[in-house]
Symmetry: C2
Protein backbone atom coordinates (compact mmCIF):
# COMPACT_ATOMS: atom_id res chain seq x y z
CA UNK A 1 0.00 0.00 0.00
CA UNK A 2 1.62 3.21 -1.11
CA UNK A 3 0.75 6.54 -2.62
CA UNK A 4 2.93 8.84 -4.68
CA UNK A 5 2.01 12.48 -4.90
CA UNK A 6 1.97 13.95 -8.36
CA UNK A 7 1.97 17.71 -7.94
CA UNK A 8 1.03 18.66 -11.50
CA UNK A 9 -1.77 21.19 -11.39
CA UNK A 10 -5.25 20.07 -12.32
CA UNK A 11 -5.55 22.83 -14.89
CA UNK A 12 -2.34 21.74 -16.58
CA UNK A 13 -3.65 18.22 -16.93
CA UNK A 14 -6.63 19.50 -18.90
CA UNK A 15 -4.48 21.78 -21.02
CA UNK A 16 -2.23 18.91 -21.95
CA UNK A 17 -5.29 17.27 -23.46
CA UNK A 18 -5.96 20.37 -25.53
CA UNK A 19 -8.67 21.90 -23.39
CA UNK A 20 -8.65 25.65 -22.99
CA UNK A 21 -7.75 27.48 -19.81
CA UNK A 22 -10.94 29.39 -19.20
CA UNK A 23 -11.74 31.36 -16.09
CA UNK A 24 -14.54 29.06 -14.86
CA UNK A 25 -12.30 26.07 -15.45
CA UNK A 26 -9.49 27.62 -13.44
CA UNK A 27 -11.88 28.43 -10.62
CA UNK A 28 -12.97 24.80 -10.50
CA UNK A 29 -9.41 23.52 -10.69
CA UNK A 30 -8.28 25.87 -7.93
CA UNK A 31 -11.07 24.75 -5.66
CA UNK A 32 -10.35 21.10 -6.36
CA UNK A 33 -6.70 21.55 -5.43
CA UNK A 34 -7.88 22.32 -1.89
CA UNK A 35 -10.18 19.36 -1.55
CA UNK A 36 -9.21 16.49 0.70
CA UNK A 37 -12.64 15.00 1.14
CA UNK A 38 -14.97 13.41 -1.32
CA UNK A 39 -17.53 15.84 -2.69
CA UNK A 40 -20.72 15.69 -4.68
CA UNK A 41 -21.07 17.53 -7.97
CA UNK A 42 -23.90 19.51 -6.48
CA UNK A 43 -21.85 20.61 -3.47
CA UNK A 44 -19.01 21.70 -5.70
CA UNK A 45 -21.44 23.70 -7.76
CA UNK A 46 -22.78 25.40 -4.65
CA UNK A 47 -19.29 26.37 -3.65
CA UNK A 48 -18.87 28.14 -6.99
CA UNK A 49 -21.95 30.29 -7.42
CA UNK A 50 -20.18 32.30 -10.11
CA UNK A 51 -19.90 29.20 -12.30
CA UNK A 52 -22.89 27.67 -14.00
CA UNK A 53 -23.98 24.32 -12.70
CA UNK A 54 -23.75 22.86 -16.20
CA UNK A 55 -20.17 24.00 -16.45
CA UNK A 56 -19.29 22.38 -13.14
CA UNK A 57 -20.73 19.06 -14.30
CA UNK A 58 -19.06 19.35 -17.71
CA UNK A 59 -15.69 19.99 -16.16
CA UNK A 60 -15.92 17.24 -13.59
CA UNK A 61 -16.29 14.91 -16.57
CA UNK A 62 -13.21 16.37 -18.18
CA UNK A 63 -11.18 16.04 -15.00
CA UNK A 64 -12.23 12.42 -14.80
CA UNK A 65 -11.26 11.91 -18.43
CA UNK A 66 -7.90 13.46 -17.61
CA UNK A 67 -7.52 11.00 -14.75
CA UNK A 68 -7.19 13.60 -12.02
CA UNK A 69 -10.62 13.10 -10.50
CA UNK A 70 -12.27 9.77 -9.68
CA UNK A 71 -15.90 8.97 -9.18
CA UNK A 72 -16.75 6.73 -6.25
CA UNK A 73 -20.00 5.02 -5.44
CA UNK A 74 -21.08 5.08 -1.82
CA UNK A 75 -22.97 2.27 -0.18
CA UNK A 76 -26.29 3.96 -0.82
CA UNK A 77 -25.50 4.15 -4.53
CA UNK A 78 -24.85 7.88 -4.59
CA UNK A 79 -21.73 9.28 -6.20
CA UNK A 80 -18.94 11.34 -4.78
CA UNK A 81 -15.89 12.62 -6.55
CA UNK A 82 -12.35 12.74 -5.29
CA UNK A 83 -9.19 14.39 -6.54
CA UNK A 84 -6.59 11.82 -7.40
CA UNK A 85 -3.14 12.40 -5.98
CA UNK A 86 -1.40 9.69 -7.94
CA UNK A 87 -0.64 8.77 -11.50
CA UNK A 88 -0.93 5.09 -10.86
CA UNK A 89 -3.80 2.66 -10.92
CA UNK A 90 -5.32 2.69 -7.47
CA UNK A 91 -8.46 2.18 -5.46
CA UNK A 92 -10.15 4.12 -2.70
CA UNK A 93 -11.43 3.98 0.76
CA UNK A 94 -14.01 6.46 1.92
CA UNK A 95 -14.93 7.45 5.41
CA UNK A 96 -18.68 7.16 5.71
CA UNK A 97 -18.75 9.85 8.36
CA UNK A 98 -16.41 12.64 7.30
CA UNK A 99 -16.24 11.84 3.60
CA UNK A 100 -12.47 11.64 3.57
CA UNK A 101 -11.16 9.65 0.65
CA UNK A 102 -7.78 7.98 0.54
CA UNK A 103 -6.15 6.12 -2.27
CA UNK A 104 -4.33 2.87 -1.97
CA UNK A 105 -2.49 0.47 -4.15
CA UNK A 106 -1.96 -3.12 -3.21
CA UNK A 107 -0.29 -5.58 -5.48
CA UNK A 108 -2.22 -8.36 -3.76
CA UNK A 109 -5.46 -7.06 -5.23
CA UNK A 110 -4.11 -6.70 -8.71
CA UNK A 111 -2.66 -10.15 -8.49
CA UNK A 112 -6.01 -11.45 -7.39
CA UNK A 113 -7.73 -9.75 -10.30
CA UNK A 114 -5.26 -11.36 -12.69
CA UNK A 115 -5.86 -14.76 -11.18
CA UNK A 116 -9.63 -14.39 -11.44
CA UNK A 117 -9.21 -13.13 -14.97
CA UNK A 118 -7.37 -16.30 -15.88
CA UNK A 119 -10.35 -18.38 -14.78
CA UNK A 120 -12.96 -16.43 -16.69
CA UNK A 121 -13.99 -16.70 -20.28
CA UNK A 122 -13.22 -13.45 -22.08
CA UNK A 123 -11.33 -10.44 -20.81
CA UNK A 124 -11.42 -8.60 -17.53
CA UNK A 125 -11.73 -5.08 -18.86
CA UNK A 126 -11.65 -3.17 -15.61
CA UNK A 127 -12.27 -3.51 -11.92
CA UNK A 128 -13.36 -1.42 -9.01
CA UNK A 129 -12.58 -1.90 -5.36
CA UNK A 130 -13.97 0.35 -2.69
CA UNK A 131 -13.62 0.14 1.06
CA UNK A 132 -16.04 1.93 3.33
CA UNK A 133 -14.56 2.92 6.63
CA UNK A 134 -15.50 4.73 9.80
CA UNK A 135 -12.32 6.61 10.57
CA UNK A 136 -11.57 7.25 14.22
CA UNK A 137 -10.62 10.86 13.84
CA UNK A 138 -13.54 12.16 11.82
CA UNK A 139 -14.63 14.99 14.10
CA UNK A 140 -11.11 16.46 14.07
CA UNK A 141 -10.77 16.21 10.34
CA UNK A 142 -13.77 18.04 8.96
CA UNK A 143 -12.15 20.32 6.38
CA UNK A 144 -12.33 21.35 2.75
Amino acid sequence: MDVEKVPTSLMASLQSLGYKATAPRKAIADLLEQKHQGFTAEALSEELPSVSRATVYRNIKLFIEAGVVCRLTLMDGSHVYSVSRTDHHHHHYVCMDCGKVEEFRASAVEQFVRSIAAELPGQVVDHRIELYVACDRCPAEQAG
Copy 2:
Protein backbone atom coordinates in the same frame (compact mmCIF):
# COMPACT_ATOMS: atom_id res chain seq x y z
CA MET B 1 -13.73 -18.97 -6.29
CA ASP B 2 -16.91 -20.89 -5.71
CA VAL B 3 -20.63 -20.43 -5.73
CA GLU B 4 -23.25 -22.34 -3.80
CA LYS B 5 -26.78 -22.31 -5.07
CA VAL B 6 -29.46 -21.59 -2.53
CA PRO B 7 -32.74 -22.58 -4.11
CA THR B 8 -35.07 -20.92 -1.62
CA SER B 9 -37.68 -18.95 -3.51
CA LEU B 10 -37.41 -15.21 -3.59
CA MET B 11 -40.94 -14.82 -2.34
CA ALA B 12 -40.21 -17.03 0.65
CA SER B 13 -37.26 -14.86 1.59
CA LEU B 14 -39.54 -11.84 1.84
CA GLN B 15 -42.18 -13.74 3.76
CA SER B 16 -39.63 -14.87 6.28
CA LEU B 17 -39.04 -11.19 7.03
CA GLY B 18 -42.76 -10.71 7.60
CA TYR B 19 -43.69 -9.22 4.26
CA LYS B 20 -46.96 -10.27 2.72
CA ALA B 21 -47.31 -12.43 -0.36
CA THR B 22 -49.20 -10.12 -2.65
CA ALA B 23 -49.91 -10.76 -6.29
CA PRO B 24 -47.66 -7.98 -7.63
CA ARG B 25 -44.88 -9.16 -5.33
CA LYS B 26 -45.24 -12.72 -6.58
CA ALA B 27 -45.17 -11.55 -10.17
CA ILE B 28 -41.92 -9.72 -9.52
CA ALA B 29 -40.41 -12.65 -7.64
CA ASP B 30 -41.39 -15.08 -10.39
CA LEU B 31 -39.82 -12.93 -13.04
CA LEU B 32 -36.66 -12.51 -11.00
CA GLU B 33 -36.30 -16.27 -10.64
CA GLN B 34 -35.81 -16.43 -14.39
CA LYS B 35 -33.22 -13.68 -14.59
CA HIS B 36 -29.62 -14.58 -15.30
CA GLN B 37 -28.51 -11.18 -16.49
CA GLY B 38 -28.25 -7.92 -14.67
CA PHE B 39 -31.27 -5.71 -15.18
CA THR B 40 -32.26 -2.12 -14.53
CA ALA B 41 -35.22 -1.25 -12.36
CA GLU B 42 -36.80 0.44 -15.33
CA ALA B 43 -36.43 -2.60 -17.56
CA LEU B 44 -37.95 -4.83 -14.91
CA SER B 45 -40.85 -2.45 -14.64
CA GLU B 46 -41.38 -2.54 -18.39
CA GLU B 47 -41.50 -6.30 -18.31
CA LEU B 48 -44.32 -6.11 -15.78
CA PRO B 49 -46.83 -3.66 -17.21
CA SER B 50 -49.48 -4.98 -14.84
CA VAL B 51 -47.43 -3.83 -11.85
CA SER B 52 -46.99 -0.19 -10.98
CA ARG B 53 -43.53 1.24 -11.45
CA ALA B 54 -43.50 2.43 -7.84
CA THR B 55 -44.27 -1.08 -6.66
CA VAL B 56 -41.43 -2.51 -8.71
CA TYR B 57 -38.97 -0.05 -7.18
CA ARG B 58 -40.35 -0.63 -3.69
CA ASN B 59 -39.98 -4.37 -4.02
CA ILE B 60 -36.51 -4.26 -5.47
CA LYS B 61 -35.55 -2.48 -2.27
CA LEU B 62 -37.15 -5.20 -0.21
CA PHE B 63 -35.40 -7.95 -2.13
CA ILE B 64 -32.12 -6.16 -1.54
CA GLU B 65 -32.94 -5.86 2.15
CA ALA B 66 -33.64 -9.59 2.18
CA GLY B 67 -30.26 -10.21 0.59
CA VAL B 68 -31.57 -11.93 -2.53
CA VAL B 69 -30.93 -9.10 -4.94
CA CYS B 70 -27.75 -7.04 -5.22
CA ARG B 71 -27.23 -3.64 -6.75
CA LEU B 72 -24.15 -3.25 -8.92
CA THR B 73 -22.61 -0.09 -10.30
CA LEU B 74 -21.43 -0.22 -13.89
CA MET B 75 -18.42 1.68 -15.14
CA ASP B 76 -20.58 4.55 -16.32
CA GLY B 77 -22.05 4.91 -12.84
CA SER B 78 -25.45 3.47 -13.72
CA HIS B 79 -27.02 0.78 -11.59
CA VAL B 80 -28.09 -2.71 -12.44
CA TYR B 81 -29.62 -5.30 -10.17
CA SER B 82 -28.84 -8.97 -10.02
CA VAL B 83 -30.47 -11.91 -8.30
CA SER B 84 -28.13 -13.46 -5.78
CA ARG B 85 -27.75 -17.21 -5.96
CA THR B 86 -25.80 -17.60 -2.76
CA ASP B 87 -26.20 -17.01 0.92
CA HIS B 88 -22.61 -16.06 1.41
CA HIS B 89 -20.71 -12.84 1.18
CA HIS B 90 -19.61 -12.46 -2.40
CA HIS B 91 -18.74 -10.07 -5.17
CA HIS B 92 -19.68 -9.80 -8.82
CA TYR B 93 -18.38 -9.63 -12.28
CA VAL B 94 -20.53 -8.20 -15.01
CA CYS B 95 -20.24 -8.65 -18.73
CA MET B 96 -20.25 -5.21 -20.29
CA ASP B 97 -21.76 -6.58 -23.47
CA CYS B 98 -24.48 -9.06 -22.54
CA GLY B 99 -25.11 -7.91 -18.98
CA LYS B 100 -24.52 -11.32 -17.51
CA VAL B 101 -23.63 -11.17 -13.83
CA GLU B 102 -21.78 -13.89 -11.98
CA GLU B 103 -20.93 -14.10 -8.34
CA PHE B 104 -17.61 -15.10 -6.93
CA ARG B 105 -16.00 -15.60 -3.60
CA ALA B 106 -12.29 -15.53 -3.13
CA SER B 107 -10.66 -15.78 0.23
CA ALA B 108 -7.69 -13.88 -1.17
CA VAL B 109 -9.80 -10.75 -1.47
CA GLU B 110 -11.27 -11.00 1.96
CA GLN B 111 -7.84 -11.59 3.37
CA PHE B 112 -6.61 -8.54 1.56
CA VAL B 113 -9.43 -6.46 2.95
CA ARG B 114 -8.56 -7.62 6.44
CA SER B 115 -4.92 -6.73 5.95
CA ILE B 116 -5.77 -3.27 4.66
CA ALA B 117 -8.19 -2.84 7.53
CA ALA B 118 -5.41 -3.54 9.97
CA GLU B 119 -3.39 -0.63 8.57
CA LEU B 120 -6.20 1.90 8.70
CA PRO B 121 -7.40 4.03 11.55
CA GLY B 122 -10.97 3.12 12.42
CA GLN B 123 -13.07 0.29 11.10
CA VAL B 124 -13.58 -1.07 7.63
CA VAL B 125 -17.36 -1.19 7.61
CA ASP B 126 -17.92 -2.72 4.20
CA HIS B 127 -16.31 -3.23 0.85
CA ARG B 128 -17.27 -3.63 -2.75
CA ILE B 129 -15.39 -5.35 -5.52
CA GLU B 130 -16.63 -5.41 -9.06
CA LEU B 131 -14.99 -6.84 -12.15
CA TYR B 132 -16.06 -5.70 -15.58
CA VAL B 133 -15.58 -8.32 -18.25
CA ALA B 134 -16.17 -8.83 -21.93
CA CYS B 135 -17.26 -12.45 -22.03
CA ASP B 136 -16.39 -14.41 -25.14
CA ARG B 137 -19.75 -16.01 -25.57
CA CYS B 138 -22.03 -13.02 -25.28
CA PRO B 139 -23.87 -13.39 -28.57
CA ALA B 140 -24.85 -16.96 -27.71
CA GLU B 141 -26.00 -16.07 -24.25
CA GLN B 142 -28.53 -13.32 -24.71
CA ALA B 143 -31.40 -14.56 -22.62
CA GLY B 144 -33.70 -13.44 -19.78
